[in-house]
Symmetry: C2
Subunit: 196 residues, 2 copies
DNA sequence: CCTGTAAGTTAATGGCGTTAACCAGCTGTG
DNA sequence: CACAGCTGGTTAACGCCATTAACTTACAGG
């Protein structure tokens, strides 16, 4: 019987493809083994557990996600950078819902040398670079960053989950929302935010 | 041996309490049975499956969530209503992370008579009533609603998951974000949204 | 060639959700 | 007050899944 020649990397990649098809919650060792033409226990020669597999998928996904955001923002500024970055995020989540869910679930690092940390930092750095085009007060940057992350994460995951039921084009809502954010960011009162 | 006198309702309520303690993904029939002082199969006399239990928890949670939003908005208008509603949502998710996750997972109805439908509709109606205070163009209401839902859902779930790592007060970011939204909503260009 | 190791295999364990078969406590009737 | 039946519990058993152990065999280096 010929060998399958698996590696941690090839197992992770196959897992990443599978998780997008069946959903994060439905990932199972048996399904992945079948997909790779191998019996379930063989996977444990390359991956220590299902949690380890999920984490490897998450790291890989976060890195690809960071690349996508960086590439979209690259060479643009201000409104253009915001629109391109937001669209890149939405596209990534739509095309890789399982991997995004895995990355999201693993985004709290398990330790100080968790390889997801640099990947997360690259994402944050891209959003921060994009926001720099709006010349915000430094005390407000973190708030704007958190808002941006919240709104894009919320929209993308709700869309991927089929959460927008009403019959109105989701594309239009997304464009409207990005324009709303752009307008608000271009017209921020200076000084620290007034607390109600 | 005395009987436990369980009902579908009491099982659902115990499940709701448990899911907030251990998290949506960790809910198990065995754990809930133990919590109720009963053997696992006893639960199946009141609930047809774990999926059924999760769905009942979700319906209950969505209804309580709808109440919380309605009560917060009640008697307020404009900025006050937005701030109160947003805070109510954030508080609900923080206090009931498991139930919110269950409600979120079940928010796509399984059929036309799924009891989650009216609960979801009440939530939407509250947000729509709140937005009415901003006198938006009717063509833009749905977009504003989706944005609001996205941003509050995103912020709340990220916060509940411990996603805001940087050392800056999350309360301040939330207030800043709500103010940002309020400013933007009070100053919306009329006519249909410009599409880039 | 041939030997050792690493990548597969089959077999076994334990935890879960679920179902079947059984039994006992409450309830409503004579 | 008895007792019959339903209803809400029990124990036992099944199948699926993650994981581990014990084994075997393909292949790489000497």
């Amino acid at each position: 019987m010929p060998r399958a020649r698996l590696t941690p990397l090839s197992v992770t990649e196959a897992g990443a493809a599978l998780i997008d098809e069946i959903g994060f919650a439905n990932l199972s060792m048996g399904l992945l083994a079948e997909r790779l033409g191998v019996k379930t226990p063989a996977l444990y020669k390359h991956v220590t557990s299902q949690a380890d597999l999920a984490h490897r998928i998450a790291v890989r996904a976060m890195a690809e996600f960071a690349d996508a955001i960086r590439d979209a923002i690259q060479g643009r500024a201000g409104s253009d950078a915001l629109a391109a970055g937001a669209q890149a995020m939405r596209t990534y989540v739509r095309e890789h819902p399982g991997q995004y869910a895995a990355a999201d679930a693993a985004s709290r690092p398990t330790g100080p040398d968790d390889p997801i940390i640099p990947a997360v930092e690259r994402v944050v750095a891209s959003w921060a670079a994009m926001l720099r085009g709006y010349h915000l007060d430094s005390s407000q940057e973190i708030h704007a960053l958190r808002m941006l992350r919240s709104v894009l994460h919320g929209f993308s995951t709700l869309e991927a989950a089929g959460g927008f039921q009403i019959d109105a084009p989701v594309d239009d809502s997304f464009t409207w929302m990005v324009n709303f954010l752009d307008r608000g960011l271009r017209d921020i009162p200076t000084g620290s935010a007034p607390v109600s």
